[in-house]
């Protein structure tokens, strides 16, 4: 009786181990089932999902114009103090002065990609970009200015 149980347990144990080995063996001999991506070798073909939140960007059109009015709504909405808007007074053609954006400072190192700033922007001036390779050797490079040099506000954006 004891012997029967003893050998029975050995048989069951060996079977359970072989069952698992069979599965690993199956995947070992069927490399087609492997689903890994070979990053960074696939960099050229790698596309992120269009909603992927990689960083905050400010799209400019071909005339180097953006849609940002300098209203600072994004700065207020950001929970981390990532955005600093520096505004200036711009002389309009009709002689009036108007608030406009001077510098859009974006601290990538503080950003949590929460999307609150994009939702808060009333004129859709900023969107989430898809880049994700943000590593740099010097921390100062993470401080970015999003409005390009010499850019101005698009016609008709209030």
């Amino acid at each position: 009786m004891f012997l029967k149980e003893y050998f029975g347990s050995i048989y069951r144990s060996a079977r359970s181990l072989l069952k698992g080995m069979k599965l690993t063996g199956y995947y070992f001999t069927h490399p087609k089932e492997i689903q890994t991506e070979e990053y960074p070798d696939n960099r050229a073909t790698l596309t992120m999902f269009d909603r992927f939140k990689g960083e905050v960007t400010m799209p400019h059109n071909e005339n180097n114009e953006h849609r940002c009015t300098g209203c600072q709504a994004c700065e207020i909405a950001c929970p981390n103090g990532t955005i600093k808007i520096i505004t200036k007074q711009e002389l309009q053609p009709d002689g009036k002065k108007k608030k406009a954006i001077d510098t859009f400072v974006y601290h990538l190192e503080l950003c949590t990609m929460c999307n609150m700033c994009v939702l808060a922007c009333p004129s859709d001036a900023i969107v989430m970009g898809q880049s994700f390779e943000h590593s740099v050797y010097d921390k100062r490079q993470l401080k970015k200015v999003l409005n390009q040099p010499g850019s101005k506000i698009m016609e008709g954006v209030e």
Partner: protein, 373 residues
């Protein structure tokens, strides 16, 4: 030699060792001080605070819209469910009616989160007990869920997809197909999971009868989630205090009576199937309509106290907001499942061998940032 101001060998001849805070099997920066008599554990003292970020205090200076994102960093494997809890609590205060579509999307995402969390746990449990292969198999299926998250929410872990009043944006047009493909894939892999780990003789001997906790102890330590359900304590918030329309769904609360590591393991394995079942019910029946209720620009909760509990992958998360009528909370308190579950670790592990400590810890499924917050 002294360690933290105490002797390595106590007067009774007990040997004191430190496990963590940088140890692969503690799943994060958990520091356990263990008193050993030979190989037998006499006492365990968790030392916390290595990843304390003061999320509760920080939230007091943020608006009701903005504090939610930080909760993704508590239990990062149930990030969506944490966000949902906060959104629900704010909605309770504002008394806004969440559209049916938003509710359905939230549940779908929550169950996908639970599924992916349990899959990661399954892989890690195998890894902790010496089987490396399950880890990779679990990540294979989890990756498909991560892709769903990435496509619709824009992030893999820290989604921040729930906002007061609904969800941040509508589901991706491709969402339904992708979820269906994923479910098909996952369902076909469940028996692989069983084959490679559940019936394995080494695994069974390392978990059966190890880390026992009785139902009474589980209750008195405040254990929730699969940790308590493994001891037969019925505590599924989705069943007992339904939110977001869980009351309309068919699913079973999984209970096991064993109270040991194996029982907790079986609870989670069965819960994965229940999550798949819930998603199947909803995926073809997402109601049409708005995905977000109209809310004011600046949210202000009326004076008072609000509490909302949800079932995360690890247990009951409670969000307690005290409002003084201003635009940011006066006080926020999170009742995190991992903190209470960790407190039961000593009861489970005392008297077992030190090798079993790893098995016990992995079946409690601790996420340390949720313990410290």
């Amino acid at each position: 030699m002294s360690l933290l101001g105490e002797d390595i060998v106590t007067e009774d001849g007990e040997f004191v060792i430190n496990i963590g805070p940088q140890h692969p099997s503690t799943h994060g920066v958990l520091h356990l001080k263990v008193w050993l008599d030979g190989e037998t554990i006499k006492r365990i003292q968790p030392h916390l605070g290595y990843i304390h970020r003061s999320i509760e205090k920080m939230s007091e200076s943020l608006s009701y819209r903005n504090f939610i994102y930080a909760t993704s960093r508590m239990d990062y494997l149930s990030a969506h469910i944490n966000n949902q809890a906060c959104a629900l609590c704010v909605e309770k205060g504002l008394q806004v009616e969440v559209p049916e579509r938003a509710k359905a999307i939230r549940i779908l995402m929550a169950e996908l989160t639970r599924l992916s969390s349990h899959q990661l746990w399954w892989g890690c449990t195998g890894l902790d007990l010496g089987a490396v292969t399950p880890f990779f198999y679990a990540f294979r299926e989890r990756e498909s869920i991560m892709a769903i998250m990435e496509e619709t929410c824009g992030a893999r872990l820290t989604q921040n997809y729930c906002v007061p009043g609904g969800v941040m944006y509508d589901i991706h047009p491709n969402f339904r197909n992708r979820v269906k493909d994923t479910l098909k894939q996952i369902r076909s892999k469940f028996n692989e999971y069983e084959e490679i780990l559940t019936g394995n003789v080494i695994f069974e001997q390392r978990t059966k009868g190890v880390g026992y906790i009785s139902a009474e102890d589980a209750i008195s330590f405040g254990c929730t989630g699969p940790t308590a359900r493994g001891s037969g304590v019925s505590c599924d918030v989705r069943k007992l205090f339904p939110y977001d329309g869980y009351e309309k769904l068919q699913f079973k609360e999984i209970l096991e009576q064993g109270g040991d590591c194996y029982a907790r393991y079986m609870v989670r394995m069965a819960e994965m199937k229940q999550s798949v079942f819930i998603i199947e019910q909803l995926i073809d029946n997402i109601p049409e309509g708005e995905f977000q209720a109209k809310t004011k620009m600046v949210l202000k909760l009326p004076k008072g106290e609000f509490y909302q509990r949800v079932e995360t992958a690890r247990g009951e998360l409670g969000v307690y907001i005290v409002s003084d009528g201003a635009a940011s909370p006066y006080r926020i308190k999170y009742r995190s499942p991992n903190f209470s579950n960790l407190s039961a670790l000593e009861r489970m592990a005392t008297g077992t061998k030190i090798g079993d400590l790893v098995a016990i810890m992995s079946t409690i499924d601790l996420v340390i940032p949720d313990v410290d917050r």
